[in-house]
Amino acid sequence: MGKYIVLAALLLAYPTFVGDFFTFQIGAYALLLGTVALSLQVLGGYGGMVSLSQLTVAGIAGYTVAILGDNTTNVMGLGWPWWCVVTAAIAIAAIAASLIGAISVRTEGIYTIMITLAIAVSFFYFVRQNYPVFNGFTGLAGVEPPRFGALYLRDPAPFYYLSLAIAAVFFWAVRYERHATFGLALQAIRDNPRRMAALGYNVPLHRVAAHALAGVIAGTAGVALVWFNGRISPGTVGVDVAIDILIIAVIGGMRHPIGPFIGALVFVLLENFAIDLIDRERFNTVIGLCFLAIVFLSPDGLLGLFDKARQAVRADTPKPQEPRKHPDKLHHNR
């Protein structure tokens, strides 16, 4: 518990130590990307369903905000009040996620990756080609977060705290859920769906429910992301970005809800500063090599590396080690 209090204090004080760029572009962005990756961690880590369509769910929420709220593109922009827009956006994201879940729960392992990738690509092409509602290639711009008197949510510090609040709420929810009835059932289904079915559990329903829960997480992050960018277009929900989310979750590690946030921080730092290390135009080589290195060295991402280091230290002090309950492997039962 103590370490979480220290972490919370550090995160709360963070904007006072750094400038606007680090508060907004690094801090807030990493928290939001981490939240989207967290929704993938719920599905992949606990549910054994690696989904590439979590960014699509976030994008659906983002587009809903731009369509139902205000934008400056002269396309849609129905001008609903912000609380209405946000509620609708998250609800629609959850419904969309449940639908994606309903389509994909019959598939297993790599097939799940593929079907969710196909859904992500379809959505990308659809919004790129549709002008009446989604304004095609150019997308919808001029999306503003709500203002509360003098408080403008897109100012670096307020936006950072908003992102922190979103991330923290879902972090605790996911952490709690892991040991709650639903979470335990989900993990048991991941490890042995047949046994759970025999025990009378409705396996597909549990999986769809996990998608819905992940949809709420990704959708909320999607709303904040469209406020962050002020715009949304097909590029926001492209395949490469969807794969970035997977990269983030893998780099961080899918065993624990803190993993996606570690991954997101590393990713955002690399994205912004790796190019200073070598030739600016070879950014993709740097990020690709970092990703490869982590996949090679540690199947459990950076979290796994921490654990290895910790175990190495512990090995010196003879202390009875509690056997770890089944490491959350992704394909336990293939």
Partner: protein, 332 residues
Amino acid sequence: MRQEHLTMGVVTCLAAVFVALIFMVWPDWLVDVMGRKKQFVNTFLNGITLAGLYFLVASGFTLVFGLMRNVNLAHGAMYLLGGYIGYEIAERTGNWYLGAVAAFIAVALTGAALQVAVFRRMQGDDLRQTLVTIGISIVAADLMLATWSGTTYQFQPPEWLFGATQLPVITTIKPSGAEVYLNYPTYRLFVLGVAIVVGILLWLFLNRTRIGMMVRAGVDDREMLAASGVNVNLVFVIVFAIGAGLAGFAGVIGGSALSIAPGEDIRYLLASLVVVIVGGMGSVPGAAAGAILIGLAEQFGLAYFPTYGVVLTFLIMVIVLAVRPQGLMGRS
């Protein structure tokens, strides 16, 4: 069993309708409903020839997956690498055929090296292998951009492949009574021919050679194959090399039909993924069936509903996966 008969019946009927539509002279009412015959026949041929190209790329992908459960997401990068290498060789020697052969060999060697140096280390860990291939494709795409810049490269296929061939298909009859026959690009027909030849060679390899039999045994049961004393690692390397080599070869064939430029890797990766998933992962006949379905869907989509045509192929994939997760010809 019943259901299979029904499926076969529907497929045969559809094929018959297509053949009839291609060879008959269209009455006016049909033109009113479907547009000009030339457009229909052309689109159909485009779909079939594109299917040939897709089959070339996807067959290697499916072969590797079937045996090793390795979803090689760097397959698109192999396609592009083959294209570039083939271009360099063809340009220096002035011989297009040499370029195609060199592309096959060079990319096959690259594939073999990857299998030995990378994938063998994480045998059985499917997700990790998939992730590694994502990393490799990102790095490879960037390095190729650095080497060959962003310029669009076009091959110069041999002269006899250039231009159009007249096909014995009447598109329309002029008021004067003269019959107008269809002209179709020769090179695209050549692509289809190459795909058929490669398909037959693959069939012979899998069914008539010792290694082919091992591969088929491995697809059915990997553990049994290993237990029976076969050098599984060698089989894996050979299959991976063939799969990668086919992608490189397709790079030259496809690059000559269209062109070679950055971004083609992702395009062909997505195409092979869709083709292989629709057809059934690991099945070479499935790749052929998937290629035909996706090739036709893509071209008819582009010609008849250009706005949302691109969405069509991916929707087909979603529907197939949702209804029949193992694909059209995959085993459950």
